[in-house]
């Protein structure tokens, strides 16, 4: 059920990284959330800088999440809507325009600005309508996948190597704490939403089935581009469950999609080895299986990042350092195992 969207998002990211050089070209430009450079002379200094980068990034994520929960708790819905609409505008128009221009550059296809403008306008406007207002479920799901992939690509491009791995590890620890501990912001968010009997911002979360339609025009907002969307999954009993029996309306936060894709994207970007990418892919899917299994057993909101990211990180480093030389040697001698 959730495999297909997660797989699609990861495939999109990997395909983009392997074909467009833009997202793997090393630039000295970094996000302001990772202010320390990794181009240092000594290994110790580089390690220190990446730890500091990770701490800063996680600090930003924590701050944004706490702010979001605060705003939600005190019912400042307009502020939240405005924030999320602004960020989805950025994603749907600007980042997709960047993506389109890179695709055109790579394949050396000429396109005039009016045509590009019309394309991007249509893409963005329909996206805004689907994600924030009403639209066919499949189209909304497709837009959420594309938006997550675009965000993940930005992270893959602008996060320096070691910082990226540390950030992935730390964000899964944060996810664990934020969703499970009683004062964790994400847990408070889920509980407040359940108390008020409202769905949690349907556009910050990917849902595999239309559980219920909310009433009026507060089309729940899209996700912010520069903060962490709730990486939590929970099973919601679908009222009008006219799909197959397995469909239980499981929801997965867009942040989960993004960080899964960042992991696989970093695996694809580093070295060009497909074995590592395939290994991370399988590891993440297995982590997702285990998480869904735990969800079926415990029936409450669970963090979807820790298990998958742990498996993914272990498999990445193990495959890259151990399995890769072994398989290369086997291929050179043309042995099969």
């Amino acid at each position: 059920m959730l495999f297909v969207p997660v797989t699609l998002c990861m495939l999109l990211v990997v395909a983009t990284i392997k074909s467009l050089h833009f997202y793997t070209d090393k630039t000295d430009q970094q996000l302001i959330y990772t202010p320390f450079t990794e181009n240092t002379s000594s290994v110790g200094r580089r390690l220190l800088n990446s730890v500091l980068n990770a701490v800063v990034m996680i600090g930003v994520i924590v701050a944004m999440t706490v702010l979001l929960v605060f705003l939600y708790k005190y019912r400042c819905y307009k502020v939240i809507h405005g924030w999320l609409i602004l960020s989805s505008l950025l994603l749907l128009f600007w980042f997709s325009f960047m993506y389109l221009s890179e695709v055109l550059k790579t394949y050396n296809v000429a396109m005039d600005y009016p045509t590009a403008g019309v394309l991007i306008w249509n893409f963005g406007a329909v996206g805004m309508a689907c994600v924030h207002w009403k639209g066919p479920l499949a189209l909304q799901q497709a837009y959420l996948i594309v938006v997550s992939a675009l965000m993940a690509l930005v992270f893959v491009k602008y996060l320096p190597e070691w910082s990226a791995w540390l950030i992935l590890a730390l964000v899964s620890v944060y996810d664990l704490v934020a969703v499970l501990s009683p004062k964790g912001p994400l847990r408070m968010l889920v509980e407040t939403a359940q108390e008020r009997n409202e769905p949690i911002f349907p556009a910050l979360i990917y849902s595999s089935a239309m559980a219920w339609t909310t009433g009026p025009a507060d089309g729940e907002p899209g996700r912010a581009s520069d903060e962490e969307a709730e990486p939590s999954g929970r099973a919601a009993a679908a009222e009008d469950d006219d799909d197959e029996q397995e469909e239980r309306g499981v929801k997965l936060g867009l942040g989960d999609f993004i960080f899964y894709s960042v992991l696989v994207g970093k695996a694809a970007a580093g070295g060009g080895d497909w074995n590592t990418t395939a290994a991370c892919f399988v590891a993440i899917l297995i982590g997702l299986c285990v998480t869904l299994l735990l969800l079926a057993i415990f029936k409450k909101a669970l963090p979807a990042l820790p298990i998958s990211i742990t498996f993914g990180l272990i498999c990445y480093f193990a495959t890259d350092s151990l399995a890769r030389p072994f398989m290369d040697d086997l291929a050179a001698h043309h042995f099969y195992i």
């Binding site: 495999f3 074995n275 030389p325 291929a331």
Partner: protein, 258 residues
Amino acid sequence: MTAAVFFGCTFIAFGPAIALFLFTIAREPLRVIFLIAGAFFWLVSLLLSSLVWFISVQISNKDSAVQQKGLLIFGVVLSVLLQETFRFAYYKLLKKANEGLLTLSQEETMPISIRQLAYVSGLGFGFMSGAFSVVNILADSVGPGTIGIHGDSQHYFLSSAFMTMAIILLHMFWGVVFFDACEKQQWWAVAAVVISHLVVSCLTFQNPEYVASLVPTYVILFLMGIWAFYSAGGSLRNLKLCLTCKDKDFLLANHRPR
């Protein structure tokens, strides 16, 4: 080294496996889950065996090519044995999980039978094994270059693709036979699966004499296929019924309610 080679080799290597996946597995989420879990078990077995190989290479004499080749052969044998061990471990896990699934879903019958699990897990092993063997080669075949320019064999890509197809199908047959043998406690059959896997891998030591490795591999594939067919409950009678579209059970089972 053209798109034709790339697509040709990809479809040779993965065609049957992808067809099997699309027609029998893709629609059932439970089967997909077990397929991916099978792939993960194969991956873990590979990681363990490459860990052992890596350590042995580090403590060996890196300049001696003979020693390195010997270590590689040792690595291959160890990897095959570990793969079969993990297949057994997966079987044990599935037996336990089946009991758990039964209590969890509170139904009378298991949602997925052990034979379906055998097929799906074998295919999972095969997919991962095939992917690791051939994907890098396929990626290289898209780019520029001339195969065999330094005097190596010109049939590298094609033979890789055929070998990979054989290995994927073999893993599937091995899975079916293995699980069936474990169910019936026929340990000689388990040993036969392990030995045939070893034989197939050791045949590839003769590469680049591809004929010497590919032909026996395909013979083994054919024989294992027949064995798997019989152990999965097939027989000449129901094969004939199936081919002449007279198999009532099959027709009834596939009748979807509107």
